[in-house]
């Protein structure tokens, strides 16, 4: 349905940033420059190092390291969120789990998983992925 007088909104990226795999798994997509090899995220049609337009998607590893974290309001509750560093030398900001769960810690390993966008959330992005503890025994939320 079209909302009358709604302001046009541009998507955050013009290239896809999430790839869905068989079995419900997801991976984040960065871009890699075919000219100079530089990686960037969010994926971009131009290389921020050499300005080449010859770029290709780069699938990030499933697991990264939590650099730091904080808490924020999302939907009706509080969630942890943080910066996750991937082996491909890319840092991604994303949501972790509800603050009702265990406190995360710097350098812990986290895995990217699919998330259902929340209606009435406080974010303009769909937040269709999040991070969970990579150690299944510590999986929360």
């Amino acid at each position: 349905m079209t909302i009358p007088n709604a302001k046009p909104r541009a998507p955050l990226t013009v290239l896809p940033y999430l790839r869905k795999l068989d079995g419900g798994q997801v991976r984040l997509l960065a871009t890699q420059c075919k000219s100079c090899g530089y990686h960037t995220f969010p994926p971009s049609t131009v290389c921020p190092r050499c300005m080449s337009l010859d770029v290709e998607p780069l699938e990030l590893s499933s697991v990264g390291e939590l650099y730091s974290y904080t808490t924020m309001r999302h939907a009706d509750g509080q969630v942890y969120s943080g910066y996750v560093d991937f082996p491909e030398k890319i840092r991604v900001f994303g949501h972790l789990w509800s603050t009702a769960g265990a406190r995360p810690h710097c350098t812990m390993q986290v895995r990217v998983v699919a998330a259902a966008p929340v209606e009435g959330a406080r974010t303009s992005a769909p937040v269709d992925f999040k991070f969970e503890a990579a150690d299944d025994a510590r999986r929360l939320a």
């Binding site: 921020p48 650099y67 904080t70 840092r91 992005a125 937040v127």
Partner: protein
């Protein structure tokens, strides 16, 4: 050879929340005060720089129209928290190059008009669209700083106590009441580990400076001009990969360039107004400016060195946490404070015998950048 630049006029209004006033009604008294302080006819002003982030178009014309200061080049500047510093840097460059003799720089921001809550960031930005705010960014810096240096989170609260104690003495400060460690520790969590009293307030402010070449100084009535020994503006670097969030590269780089240009080092700074937008920021920037080694900021703070009466007084005005942080006004307000310190005009928050001062405004939350921009200015009497 570059021409020298001096501050010959300062103006500032009390910071606080004044939603009943328009930007132009709120800001003109600061500009008028700065001009009157020089005794120069307003027609002697060659150029005006107006800094504002959220005020809307043509802020310079809006405010200067009130004072009939029009027809000259009015240049409107936006560079987030460094907007005011950027205006100063551009004005100094114009004077140094011999393109003008007298320049006005002012900054105004009225965050009360937004209602409340954190600064609105661009929703085209990955981090902001996923809910990250300025308190959230500094909270992550704090979390990592505590982790890397093995420091207890309660240490952050000493920064707030010092800032608010100074604010009590500053008639221009938004927050003029002291807080205790317990009050800071018991205030509500904004973005873990930062609590409400670890954050600068949102509010309104306006400040103005008149800068002049030696010729401009001679034409004015100013008998104690304060020289701008160095002013440096940089943008942060775009870096999509892992970088330290607890070492500010852009602040360190700007600081070392400013020290070199002024021919001084951190040991020479008697008084500094640095960007303590959140409690962790003051600690990080002690390190960026070389006031102490990485990890020693808490010890430096607790030693009293940076408190009123100490050897290197940081944020005697109360800083962003007590004077307030009306974004684009901050960089100008900091220089007003430093100039008045070096002129011995700061009453019961005067740093005795201050001869060399430093102002630092940095910020702007944008994905992939450590900071959007940074401005550092060194002043000498």
């Amino acid at each position: 050879m570059k021409r020298r630049t001096f501050v010959i006029g300062t103006g500032m209004v009390k910071f606080g929340r004044f939603p009943e006033l328009s930007h132009r009604e709120f800001a003109w008294p600061a500009v008028r005060e700065a001009i009157l302080e020089t005794s120069l006819p307003k027609e002697r002003i060659d150029v005006a720089y107006s800094a504002s982030m959220l005020g809307g178009m043509l802020m310079g014309q809006q405010v200067l129209g009130k004072l009939g200061l029009t027809g000259l080049p009015i240049i409107n500047v936006e560079n987030a928290c460094s907007s005011g510093s950027t205006g100063i840097g551009e004005a100094v460059g114009r004077i140094e190059a011999g393109k003008c003799d007298v320049a006005l720089v002012f900054g105004v921001e009225m965050l009360s008009k937004l209602g409340g809550g954190p600064l609105p960031l661009s929703q085209d930005d990955w981090d902001a669209a996923h809910g990250l705010t300025m308190p959230g960014i500094y909270a992550m810096r704090a979390q990592r700083y505590l982790y890397e240096h093995g420091i207890d989170r309660s240490e952050l609260s000493h920064v707030s106590v010092k800032a608010r104690a100074n604010g009590v003495r500053n008639p221009y400060a938004q927050m003029q009441t002291a807080v205790t460690l317990e009050e800071v520790e018991e205030s509500r969590i904004i973005a873990d580990p930062l609590r409400l009293l670890h954050c600068c307030p949102t509010g309104d402010g306006a400040a103005a400076l008149v800068l002049a070449s030696e010729e401009g100084v001679r034409a004015s009535s100013c008998d104690n001009p304060i020289e701008i020994s160095a002013t440096v503006v940089h943008s942060g670097m775009f870096e999509p990969g892992p970088i330290s969030m607890i070492k500010s590269h852009v602040s360190s780089k700007s600081a070392s360039e400013a020290y070199e240009a002024a021919g001084i080092g951190p040991e020479d700074i008697d008084v500094a107004e640095i960007h303590d937008s959140f409690a962790i920021a003051e600690l990080m920037y002690y390190e960026a400016f070389g006031f102490c080694r990485p990890g020693d900021a808490v010890s430096l703070l607790r030693s009293g060195t940076t408190s009123l009466g100490g050897r290197h007084v940081v944020n005697p005005s109360g800083g962003l946490m007590a004077r307030g942080h009306p974004v684009a006004a901050t960089g100008v307000a900091q220089v007003v404070e430093i100039v008045r310190q070096l002129q011995g005009r700061c009453g019961n928050y005067q740093v005795q015998g201050a001869r060399v001062g430093l102002a630092h405004a940095t910020g702007g939350g944008i994905s992939g950048f450590e900071h959007g921009a940074c401005g550092v200015t060194i002043l000498k009497r």
